[in-house]
Assembly symmetry: C2
Homo-oligomer: 261 residues x 2
């Protein structure tokens, strides 16, 4: 059995030391094998302009990475967290770290709304990573809207999708039930709460971080305002069985020849 | 504006004349531009064996087709209905007819459970048809489980998906909200009600026929037992606009290069 945690935060825009410290405290407060944190959990989300992102973004081995690796070593856990990445370009990224440091990186493929002004679209595809407890894939927030995201991860045999998010539209929590059903995977959506007002742009985040199982069962759903951490123990092997009855294997039953794309 | 009707029936297994007569009566009872009827609406669903299907199946220009074309001519409407097709093989099919006869045929691509014992998987892809009120695509029941079905139709610019169904699992009505959201299409799911017991196999159908709009709004949802017809007037042009904000066009925003399949 594997203990999966979703961490729901309320970052203060631009205050990376504070946001990371609070995230680390939440991680330290409850034992798990995998912690999933929100999108851009170190910086906040509602940037004024690209210059602000450029100032706040970090390389993959920056301050946030070091803090996350330190708590991963202490807890012997794996952690997926969203951060603003500065390397050859600015990316809306998520890192997967463990006790020994970096394991993998994902760069958001489907940028949402004003993110398109600040970030370069992801160019690493949808990678999967083999961890002691199973195979993990990552997608970020609006990627959920595209069925191709979770499908790509399922076709690579991901058993659980870590899904750092900053949700402003209402649909995702229920839609993730469909993503899990259609792919028979687990998903851990870690969202943030709170409101960020910058100039005329005010965004309120819906919280509702959740963990869903391959039968579409909602194992955990947090509320819209709570800051905290929730853990559930799951059997990730369930996600390896793609049969939903003796006749239908969901993945083997795909018929690409009839889709024509 | 276009009037879309879902017709929810309770066919008697094997009694084609009765089932077709009742379906025609429901169509005649309320005006619409498009009527969508359930999967296998002429035969019923829970067949004992392949021999029974072979006995009940009809060519695309058979008895059911003639009755549907006749009422299409009287009502000047288009009708999508599910039937057991016998041509070079047995297919779980849906026909689209109008006042002048046959317009198109779809053969279920993703067969569900025991259907795999009776029918040959569909080999016509997911075709779309241009009607006076807009472009229509067809998928049947379990096709909903595969995001590729509705996606294929949306990529062919279908504005509305006619979705004849015989639902036994609970997920479809809510999942169709996601299918409509992710593709910005309308969908009309026509389901049946009732219970069919054959030997050890007893199936209860969940009804809940529905019409959903491109914003994921449920315009109509029938109950679990009602036999009847419901009509809603919609602006199918809405489904041509794939932008959900000034930055995100859902279809143009797909990134096949990152999916790798």
């Amino acid at each position: 059995m594997t203990r999966i945690a979703v961490v729901q935060t309320n970052p203060e825009l631009g205050n990376i030391p504070l946001n990371v410290r609070r995230a680390v405290e939440l991680i330290a407060s409850m034992e798990a094998d995998l912690y999933v944190l929100p999108e851009l959990c170190n910086t906040g989300y509602n940037f004024a302009d690209r210059r602000e992102v450029d100032r706040l973004a970090e390389p993959p081995d920056g301050f946030t990475f070091r803090a996350m690796t330190e708590i991963a070593a202490k807890t012997k856990a794996r952690i997926v967290y969203g951060f603003a990445e500065k390397s050859d370009a600015l990316y809306n990224s998520a890192a997967l770290v463990g006790p020994a440091g970096i394991i993998g990186l994902y760069r958001k493929v489907h940028l949402y709304a004003r993110e398109t002004l600040f970030f370069t679209p992801g160019n690493l595809g949808f990678p999967v990573f083999d961890l002691p407890f199973g195979r993990l894939g990552i997608m970020i927030c609006f990627d959920w809207y595209y069925p191709e995201s979770a499908r790509t991860l399922a076709l690579k045999n991901a058993q659980i999708i870590a899904h750092p998010s900053n949700l402003v539209m209402p649909h995702c929590p229920d839609a993730m039930i469909v993503r899990c059903l259609e792919n028979r995977v687990f998903a851990a959506t870690a969202d943030r709460v709170g409101t960020e007002k910058r100039g005329v742009t005010e965004l309120t985040y819906i919280g509702k971080s959740e963990i869903v199982d391959p039968d579409g069962g909602v194992l955990i759903r947090m509320d819209q305002e709570e800051v905290g951490i929730r853990v559930v123990e799951v059997d990730l092997k369930t996600a390896l069985k793609k049969k939903i009855n003796r006749y239908n294997d969901l993945i083997a039953g795909r018929r690409p020849g009839e889709y024509g794309w």
